[in-house]
Symmetry: C5
Subunit: 368 residues, 5 copies
């Protein structure tokens, strides 16, 4: 499971030597293929689905030269690669489709910003898959898409379960219109699946925020504040992952690529709306978290205030009393009160009255 290895988030660096850092690329010529990201132990899995309106055929392949066969077919080919740690495989796949070396470099560098680039005969899109893990952390995975005339190649890091399974089922089962549409609709479906997962992650965070909110008002502790800050950081992180996606999709809509048909543009507009809604929600969450922090801080102030009041009440009641008992503890020879028979009860009465008056005073001040 991969957790935010991006420079922008401060997880303590995993001690395993399987993460290659971005800085190790400094000084290398452009187009040098190096996998930057977490190494997985899983084997790389390449799945090819060939489909058209009539049917669909799925294969797991091992050698890349097989690809050529699929590409010649009149059907739409979807090649899905799970796992990026075998650089040669990506290289071969890229070479046999004539992909620019910089694109291959970007696919392997899992710290990309979401982006879309038009290379004439294919489109290259990078996006981030979000997943709320069990311990309410958000993990990300980079997904790269290459969209050609009649094929889509998708690259996943393959760290967690396969998010594209429902689409695979839909193709195999012939559900929806996916089999009768082109490669652009397949690309849309993949992007839509990724964006739909954002809602799941956001709802999970939303639930956590609700709990936190109750906690802030009723019994805030130091942990509360740390939780708020952790969520705030998650929001910074999500924002960075989702915000550029908006531009990416709106760029696809407007761009005059022959690879995206007029008919599919309506669908991209739909994903665009979803992305904007995700961004809206992230911004709203940020605002709400800031508000929670304010409440937390002022409840800290409030508590200091409460403590101060207790101290002041105690001091204000007992200091005068202590003075009085000290007064009659003096050893002067001529102190007439000390000789009085009712002196002691009188002093006790005096002190009782004084205390009562103090208590009333604090009541009136609403301190008690």
């Amino acid at each position: 499971m991969k957790k935010n290895r991006h420079p922008g988030n401060h997880q303590p660096p995993t001690t395993t030597p399987t993460v290659t850092k971005r800085s190790e690329k400094a000084g290398l010529p452009p187009g040098t293929l190096i996998h930057i990201g977490e190494k997985s132990d899983r084997e790389i899995k390449v799945t090819v689905i060939d489909y058209n309106a009539d049917g669909a055929e799925q294969k797991e392949i091992s050698a890349i030269n097989e690809c050529f066969y699929f590409m010649d077919a009149s059907a739409i080919s979807w090649i899905n690669v799970e796992g990026l740690h075998e650089v040669e495989l990506v290289q071969q796949l890229g070479d046999c489709q004539g992909i620019h070396p910089l694109v291959l470099e970007d696919i392997l560098n899992t710290e990309q910003r979401p982006k879309a680039e038009d290379f004439g005969n294919y489109l290259f899109i990078v996006l981030k898959m979000l997943r709320a893990t069990d311990d309410s952390e958000i993990s990300t995975e980079q997904v790269s898409l290459i969209i050609g005339e009649n094929f889509v190649i998708s690259f996943q890091e393959g760290l967690e379960g396969d998010a594209f399974n429902p689409i695979r089922e839909r193709i195999k089962g012939g559900k929806g219109r996916i089999r009768s549409m082109g490669a652009d609709y397949l690309a849309y479906s993949l992007i839509d699946a990724v964006v739909d997962d954002y809602f799941v992650a956001l709802e999970k965070i939303g639930e956590e925020m609700e709990e936190l909110e109750a906690e802030v008002v009723t019994s805030p502790t130091r942990e509360t504040q740390q939780k708020i800050h952790r969520l705030k950081r998650t929001m910074i992180f999500l924002r960075k992952a989702v915000w550029p996606l908006r531009e990416v999709i709106s760029g696809l809509e407007r761009r005059d690529s022959h690879l995206i048909s007029q008919e599919t543009i309506v669908y991209f507009r739909d994903v665009y709306d979803h992305t904007v809604q995700v961004i809206d929600t992230i911004e709203t969450y940020r605002d709400i978290l800031s508000g929670m922090l304010d409440i937390h801080l002022s409840s800290l102030s409030n508590r200091t205030n409460e403590v101060m009041k207790v101290l002041t009440i105690i001091a204000t009641i007992f200091m005068p009393l202590t003075f009085i008992v000290g007064l009659y503890g003096m050893n002067f020879k001529y102190m007439p009160e000390l000789e009085w028979h009712w002196g002691y009860p009188a002093v006790l009465l005096l002190m009782a009255v004084l205390s009562a008056w103090m208590v009333l005073f604090f009541r009136r001040k609403k301190w008690l």
Copy 2:
């Protein structure tokens, strides 16, 4: 009554199983119709009004095939649907008008952002109806409009009373110019009715803010702060609902759709002005609420200060006195003062003078 079920607002989740969440859609093919939102128990009500300059006719219909009849007429048809929980009805209505499946999906998903889309032979508009409920909460309801050449279909969630009644009355009574104008004017009237309700909601909030403001200055409590935060959150929520509307309406104005006549554009410009005014007011309220929070926080500081002063005054007066009485409580054999006849009154006098001097000192420091 529906209260902000949007992911962006943290009402504790209603325990009833009647709310479908956005995340339940993840993995389904696009165009799958699922009602996302609160289920109402009310029956769905479909009202059709057929009108032209000469007259108006209203019907409640039950079977959707009746629609076709209205559409053929030379009159303007307004089909109003209250309640979205019968997915099949919406499906039938959409199919008989040739509405794109994504539009139907958006109509049923009540967590849409306000938006406008032009599908050539019809326009699709989503907006949010606001209503200040009795307990000074703001509830929202999604309103979707489909505007064709000579018809308007409006979808409401139907959770609360009918906001479109005055328009219905105007059509039936032939008041204003509504009966002599086209479907675009009807759409304008519906949007205008929705935006007019924003002012009512804002004025209600405004009154609450006035009360709160007095409270902040005179007698702030913990509840005051929570009220301010609640209002701040409401503002975040309103902003999210209204802000995109501005773009929607200005888009309608500029867009070159044959469905909106030149004559009606003046009216849309008018609604646009109202929307901008609503947004302005929301921003102003936010600024004012921030100011109130600042006042509240500094009044907390102020109160700590007051408490501290009381403590300090008490301690500063009684500590020296307690020291003096302690002094003459010592048991030394040779303490000449103790033997003096006027020793005791002298000490009393000394302490009185000291106290008076202290009080004067605090007066001069403006602590008393």
Copy 3:
């Protein structure tokens, strides 16, 4: 006198029933004329000035049909209406000039945002007149202008003295170039008069801020903070009134209306510069007020600190002393010091030395 009845500002609602609120319009058809704003008891005053390079003639009229006469003349006509509470009068005036009903509605609704609209044969402009009243409140009044080929109609709420008097004098006296220019120059003069008043209001606020600033540094009280907040709120309010004006005037400059001659555009550019300067000053004031609030808050902290120090000094000096006198107040049988002849003076000396040392300690810590 009208004070900020806008929803965005929280004056306690005036109890007089003479204010119609914006929400009372909800549900009415567009173009329904209702005066929203404060009702004045003053009678409505309609003044018509007819002028050209040769001379000027002023009349107060009572019946609206007289207008037609002026409009036919080859001269420039300026019709000024003070007071909006007679809806019929505005209606008649609008009808005889062919003004769009929505424009009349906007004129009567005194909660408009500043705006400019081009209706082909006339321009419609709304702006806000500011006036610093004696008790250093800012009151606003809505001014609407309708600019035609050879006439200008201006509507004021007429709550306070007439701001357009100097212009009237200039026309009558033939001072400046006003009589030799067209209706557009007259409109410019009116807008310029309104914007010039902004400077007067800002200078008044500026003076108040200077006083406040001295107060914040020397002797801040709770009232200081409330004054700062009041000014801050006034700034929010001013901003809302002036900011859109910038767009309005720059729109007039750029727009290709035949109603504004090339020669006059230089003048509008001049007003534009003034408006930008007003906005700049408002923003600067806001920044300064925020700074003042910061100073105020940290001076509160500072004062808590001072109080704390006094308490700590007192406690630190007297607690050890009280302990010592308590020590020799113990009743042990065998306490050799008590028997010493110089015991008492020795203890007194010890305590004096201790106190002196404490005072020195606090001096070194710069607490005294």
Copy 4:
């Protein structure tokens, strides 16, 4: 010396009646020439330099009609006016060059925002000269330029030393390319001289900030905070003076005026870069000052904390001790300890141990 008389900065109003305020213009017709700004006692100085590639001639003139002579010459004429308080002189100069009355009005009103306007046969530019005075205040002076085909007229307020001297020397000495270039290059040189002075002012402020920074960390006092706020205010003020300049110069670059040759545009681009750098630095300074304020405030908190700790340590040590000595000061008849021979030393020992334990406790808590 003139210090920020602009409404946006709150120097206490100078008591001398020599400052005319902006508000005194309200109600006057546009183009009325009134000097708004500080009156200088210095006489107005008008210097004319006539130069071309062959030589340069300088004259101080007294009567304005002499100007005409210079203008006829084939050489470039630079007329520099120091002092604006003689309105007639500016009027005459303007009239003989055909300058628009609004331009003359702007020249005399020293509270202009920096701006550039193209009047076809001449360009009008306003900018602000900054000068760090000895007491580390920033004073401004307005500089207006009128750039014609073969002449430049510059207006300074003339409150302080002449900033244009180096340029004068360069013209007379024939250094650089200035004598072989046109009036546009002269204008560039003047603007460049003004912008170069900004760097001097900023470096002076930078040095002050360095000192302040050390002060904030080592020994912050109330004065520190006031200094920070003063610098912050200066930054607000500088920002207002420099920010619009960027637009002005970039406008000159892009604008298609025949008065600025292609060759000179490179130079304007250079000044543009400098202006952007000045703005960058101002923004950076603002950020740094905000950071300093944060440090200051938290060091205040820290100090409260320190004071609190001292108090708590004293109280925690002496309160139990005082209790113990009080205990053995009780007058019960049967208190066996009082009779013990080693009672007194035992109690002393007990108290010593208790105190030592307390000190250790506070050590462990890192309070000592």
Copy 5:
């Protein structure tokens, strides 16, 4: 080693007289060549590499006229200058290539903002090289590039090790496509090398932030806060250095210069992506640092709270006890309790119970 001598960062001014300040240029004619920046003692090193697809030749040259030889060759020439303190050398180099004097001035002034300018037959680019030095400070060095048809001249300040070595190796070794591409690709490689170093610097800062974060949560001290502020300042500084680079590179992409071939533009787009990623990370770091400051401040509040609680607990327990023992220290003649045999133990018991009750009370309040 050069550390941020820019006006925007407040390192105490180095006392060595080897730094020329920007302000020393004020008053000099444009195009006057003055080296502004830190003087190095190193000798200036001029390296020329001549290469084409067939081979590469490297020379260190001493006299500038040799340059001409290289320029005539059909190969690509890369002239790298390390060290800027010999103004004449830069002058000669500029003159023999026909570089505009303002460009030479900018090369020597090491306080430039990153920028790109198109002079027709060459492009001029300024950027900032970042280097995280050992003591975790960020030092910058200005790099200027002049890109011609078949040559690139690069100027470095030469304060630290040569960042362009890997590129030199690649050229000599013929690795990658560099030798078969034009001067534009060489320029790209140089810029890419600079941007790659940003990632190294950012990762170093990232690691420091992780350490700091742990510190903030576990054991915050005054130093922690100063470290946070130092990092915040570094971020302000980085932002200023990197932000304009984005515009520079996107400008190169879009600009229609014949010096940058279509083939190379893909590479510039790649550097652009990296720059945006760097900016994103900087913004994220800023947000995170703000969050850390918030945590730090509220942990200060928390600690004050803790101290207060200790004080209050001590006072609340011992004040009543001290009162009681004082009570029985009074010297009244008739105090029956004093005579009781079990009086003393009874009082001790009473006080024990009271203390226990207090402790329970504080437990319940969660103070203990």
